[in-house]
Amino acid sequence: MSLAEYAREHGLKRVGAREPFFEYLKHAWQRRDFAYIMALYTNQANNAKNRLGRWWIVLLPTIQAGVYGLIFGVLLGSTRPENFIPYLFTGVFLFSFLQGAFASGATAVTGNLGLVRSLSFPRILLPANAVIQQIFSLLPQLGLLLVTLLAFQQPLTWAWFALIPIVLLMVMFGFGLATISARLTVHVADLNKLIPFITRIVFYVSGIFFSMEKVLSGYPLALQIAKLNPVYVYISLARGAVVDGYSMTAELWISAIAWAFGTLIVGLWFFWKAEERYGREI
């Protein structure tokens, strides 16, 4: 009798074996507190490093939006989109969430190898923790955005409530993105070097500070392709909800829902496939 048969006969299970997909997700869900508490404490620890602490969560994007507003506002001159400041702030804040989810997802496993090698838990909690941290930064930014909107005399309408499902869809998309980047950097650590460039490119092609419709008005095909970009979709939808002069179209909603569910499902599955691999050297 081989050892394997002997082990099976006594009801032993193979250690570290990957669970079936839905069981894995169920287990991860049972341990969600870990991802949440870890995100909370990591945030607290990060904030404790500076004198201004958590104010930086709001200060940093404000400064960033201010700098972009100043530079692009002047540069673009009369080609500025309507309602420029609310337009820009919506773009910059939502973009910073998606960018953060992608970049912190990339280091979620590779940056926590110590944890991965000392405790066993569903590894998907690591990208989940990364995304929860980004949500903690996003919430005060959304508050700031609403204050800005009121300050610029945007009329308060029922459409603002559409921001809730939009943010939910965006979080789903961001989590999917984080799980994908988390696994990719495990296979190819070099990808971490390229991430700043990827996010830069996406920043420039997503119409954060300019109007894609205006710039690409002479090229209908290019505009069609550019509109498939999920970052553009979420930001445009949010602008449609809160910024005066922009509207939410059915096309945008369909895109937003498709990207959210598609990316999340692909991401979860993709991450789960390599569950046994995390913690290995290369």
């Binding site: 081989s2 050892l3 394997a4 002997y6 082990a7 099976r8 006594h10 009801g11 032993l12 299970k13 193979r14 250690v15 570290g16 049972q30 341990r31 507190d33 870990f34 508490i37 870890m38 404490y41 990591t42 607290q44 620890a45 990060n46 404790a48 490093k49 926590n112 110590g114 944890l115 991965v116 090698r117 000392s118 405790l119 066993s120 838990f121 046994e276 691999r277 913690g279 290995r280 050297e281 290369i282």
Partner: protein, 257 residues
Amino acid sequence: MAAKSKPQQKPVVVVDDVHIVYKVFASGRRATRGSAGGGLFARKLGLREVHAVKGVSFTVFEGESIGIIGSNGSGKSSLMTAIAGLNPVERGSIYASARPMLLGVGAVLLPAISGLKNILLGGLAMGYSRKEISANADAITKFAGLEEFIDLPMKTYSAGMSARLRFSIAASRDHDILIIDEALAVGDQEFRNRSEARMRELRDNAGTVFLVSHSMKSILDTCTRVIWIEKGELKMDGDPKKVVAAYNKHTGSTTID
């Protein structure tokens, strides 16, 4: 083989021909003769394979406490992390009746937050509910002997203090299979006595304990069986006194400590 001589006992861990291989990017500059990759002056960046564990097999039965000995770099810790399911094996398999819990000096918690918060976080990572941990937090703190310091960030702790906290978190609940990897070496004498007592308690509650240590004294004090691993291979497996004596002869030590 142990599996065949004691068929009436219930096995809890079966290690079946396990190989562990690490692949690392390393420059091929090795001065040793006869090794692949060229001599001292070859400058190439190559993928190097380190064969840490080479075909180890053994079976562990319920209620045993196993001492694992061997020199540094012999593959003890690699094997233990593999048993805990944290380190994928290249070939072979490891079977266990429950998920083994590894407790090592390398266990990383968040250094910037307080010891108390780390207790909560460590407990959650191990799969306990928030309620269970809050109920146990005081006992864990007391066991670690860190009552005065528990609200300070863990980065202010000494190596011994944080190792004590980690041990206390992991040992706070009964595990069916517990692996302790040199975690006790850093604690002071008082803590060592307390943790050895706790280990015996864990073992008596039908748990199985693996202890990796360089202290032959604590191996002889706590273990019922010793496995000696040398250069990734199982060199000896059996009665603690015999194996430790052979190991001491091999290393050239005359006293047992």
